[in-house]
Amino acid sequence: MRRDIFQAIADPTRRAIIILIASQAMTPNAIADNFHTTRQSVSKHLRILTECELVKQEQQGREIYYTLKIEKMKEIDKWIAQFRKIWETRFDQLDHVLSTMKKQKK
């Protein structure tokens, strides 16, 4: 199954993890402390986020730290802009249809 950024943000726990690690690198245990779910569940979300290439792991001593790949988050902005753009294009086309209709009436 292909992973992408939209799978990463489709889940509320993963969104919360993104917010958590946006400001600082954190170990899986430190992340899990913020949730009422099991550590396995948090691990699963971290694995998906990693597969979505939204987070990266860094080994520091004996611990693994997760950090957010901020440049990847910007893809969401691009997507929103694209969806908005679809509507803009659609409406520009309707403007064109309307002005053509107006000319034909005259």
């Binding site: 917010i19 520009d92 309707l94 309307l98 209709m101």
Partner: protein
């Protein structure tokens, strides 16, 4: 278009709604026709290079619009719109779903309910489209973005972090 026409696009994630407002430089009955007559819809509904091609249109309560989005290489994505309520030149309600060439709805794909309101703004017409999704997943599938509330906050935080770097 050089003249500036009001355009507003907002996502209400708490209620799974997208609001799309747009003003058009034409009277209400003309704009109404553009949204409800398939021969006109086919001229603008799909953003280029896609085109919409109507297979059948029956604009009345309970009626359906069955059309394909046709891509530049001839690829076809079929959709069906079912009209549930119509008040001529004022509003219509519809549900939107993906389907096949025979009109069989694909339940695995996202669907949404539409309300289209038409009102006068001086000489122009304002169309306020409200897309309602049954749940967040479908909203996110469709617009593949899913943030005005939850992630918008994350975005602000990210913006703040980026600004510091």
């Amino acid at each position: 278009m050089s003249m500036s026409l009001f355009f507003d696009f907002t996502v209400d994630k708490q209620n799974n709604i997208i609001n799309i407002k747009r003003e058009f430089a034409a009277d209400r009955s003309t704009v109404w026709d553009c949204y409800t007559r398939s021969e006109i819809l086919d001229k603008w509904w799909m953003p280029l290079p896609w085109k919409s091609r109507t297979k059948s249109m029956d604009f009345r309560e309970g009626g359906k619009w069955h059309y394909a989005a046709v891509g530049p290489n001839g690829e076809e994505h079929w959709s069906i719109t079912t009209y549930t309520k119509i008040e001529p030149q004022k509003l219509f309600l519809a549900s939107d779903a993906f389907c096949d060439a025979d009109g069989n709805i694909n339940a695995a794909m996202p669907s949404s309910k539409w309300t289209m309101n038409f009102s006068d703004t001086g000489k122009h017409t304002l169309v306020h489209g409200i897309m309602q999704f049954p749940d967040l997943v479908q909203l996110e599938q469709t617009i593949a973005m899913g943030f005005k509330e939850g992630l918008a906050r994350a975005m602000e935080q990210l913006d703040a972090i980026l600004a510091k770097q």
